[in-house]
């Protein structure tokens, strides 16, 4: 038999025990980036190796919550990749305008910045009233932050600069109520937004969506899990629905590539073809 390195066995055991005790499945995450994240957590906890971490996580729920946060939070901004939003407005919005009612799913929405960016965009296009936006994530802490719609005031200038690059023409600060060091997204932007807990790794199909946003989430999964999640997206989209991925991601290497056509190669906007099973 071929022998494995201690480290790789330790990591397998750690992930296996997390699944069995807490129900979170990281076994099919991309190994290279997962290892880097866990190693940085090891340093923060002053722990030497995966086995020691395993003992801590299994016996201390509070440490596990911290770990979960570390594994799942991605820092994002409003109108992150402004040119993507511009391209979405040019290429997708004109088609969406012909629909009487819109259902949009932000899968892996983290703390909600991109969900509200979309709400602003739809508001400016006069479509928000007939839209429902679902934001989902498996991280409860991130979701409650998203629900609160409150962001640090220090982040607004960055949001506003992205908004300008996107081509936004309104006075960006009008979209917020600011108080002390916080900025809260205005109610007319949040009322058609619903947040819910959903784990892409273990949960199932989510409604008949017109558009699914899942930007910079798939990069953390290995090829096998990516395929599974893309199957889930295909099944959750209505005919001719749109799928938007992150700039560094592509559907081309997946088994789902045959069910989608490319709308924007540069900004990774895809459309489910009528051939795609539903």
């Amino acid at each position: 038999m071929s022998l494995e390195s201690t480290e790789s066995v330790e990591l397998d055991l750690l992930l296996e025990s997390i699944l069995r005790v807490y129900g979170y499945d990281f076994r099919h995450y991309a190994r290279s980036s997962l290892k880097r994240r866990i190693k940085s957590f090891l340093e923060k906890k002053c722990v030497r190796n995966y086995s020691e971490l395993q003992a801590i996580l299994l016996h201390d729920r509070e440490s596990f919550s911290q770990f979960l946060l570390e594994m799942s939070i991605t820092v994002t901004d409003m109108f992150r990749d402004p040119l993507f939003y511009q391209s979405f407005r040019q290429l997708v919005v004109p088609v969406l305008k012909t629909y009487p009612y819109l259902k949009i799913w932000h899968a892996g929405c983290a703390t909600g910045e991109e969900v509200y960016s979309l709400a602003i965009l739809l508001h400016e296009e006069g479509m928000l009233e007939r839209s429902t936006i679902y934001g989902t994530d498996f991280n409860a802490t991130a979701l409650s932050k998203a629900k609160s719609a409150i962001y640090g005031i220090d982040r607004l200038s960055n949001f506003a600069s992205n908004y300008l690059q996107f081509g936004g023409e309104a006075n960006f600060s009008d979209y917020f109520i600011t108080k002390y060091q916080s900025a809260k997204v205005q109610n007319f932007l949040t009322k058609n937004v619903t947040f819910a807990s959903h784990n892409l790794v273990t949960d199932n199909v989510f409604g008949e969506m017109n558009v699914i946003f899942c930007r910079n989430v798939l990069i953390y999964f290995n090829a096998e899990l990516q395929n599974r999640v893309l199957d889930l997206f295909c099944d959750s989209l209505c005919q001719l629905g749109y799928l938007c991925l992150g700039a560094g991601e592509t559907i081309n290497y997946s088994t789902q590539s045959r069910n989608f056509e490319t709308v924007s190669k540069e900004y990774k906007i895809y459309r489910k073809t009528s051939m795609g099973s539903s």
Binding site: R36, T74, Q165
Partner: protein, 192 residues
């Protein structure tokens, strides 16, 4: 994986990469992975530009792209680039390392982690110390490190940091670095 070349470059990088990529021979049987510090919205201009100059093909890396010999992969702006043990590219948007994303340390450390039989790490011109920890990781598993001669670099800080940490096996100017890559690749030509 037999052999692989990884290159890290920052300020003054475009000129350095132009020089190296255009001097590489067309039949190299190894992949070359490059991190150049760029902004998130820089697009694929640099890869396209270098592809025109080089005899090898130069592409902007995408997540899950297969890494093939004879191809040069450039990390996309705004993403860290990793090499997975099954010879695929993996990207992340995790925290910046040395103020940079993509970071040279992240690439170098990920390549060292999957233990290719042989690896050559190269640190070129740049104005911070990204690449030094990565060079240490490559050395620790028996890889070879080359730093650009600081006297020939637009910005000497980055190669100097590697040299001062005692990690550079060789200190060379750009044309010699290109020659070294050509020579390094030759050992993998037989039997393939």
């Amino acid at each position: 994986m037999h052999g692989i070349v990884v290159i890290g470059v920052s300020a003054g990088g475009l000129r350095a990469l132009e020089m190296i990529c255009s001097a590489l021979e067309p039949d190299l049987r190894i992949p070359i992975l490059i991190v150049q510090h760029t902004s998130p919205n820089s697009g694929s201009y640099m890869a396209e530009h270098l592809d025109e100059l080089a005899k090898l093909s130069v592409v902007m890396a995408e997540d899950k792209m297969k890494v093939d010999p004879g191809v040069i992969y450039i990390a996309p702006g705004g993403y860290h680039m990793f090499l997975e043990s099954d010879e695929h590219i993996c990207l992340s948007i995790d925290e910046r390392v040395c103020y940079a994303r993509p970071s040279i340390d992240v690439l170098f450390e990920s390549v060292a982690d999957i233990l290719p039989e042989s690896m050559l790490g190269i640190v070129l011109t740049g104005a911070n110390s990204d690449g030094t920890n990565g060079a240490r990781a490559i050395k620790a598993v028996g890889g070879r490190i080359v730093a650009q001669d600081p006297a020939t670099a637009d910005s000497a800080v980055m190669p100097l940091s590697v040299i001062e940490a005692g990690l550079a096996d060789e200190v060379l100017a750009l044309p010699e670095i290109a020659q070294l890559i050509n020579q390094y690749a030759k050992q993998f030509r037989e039997g393939l």
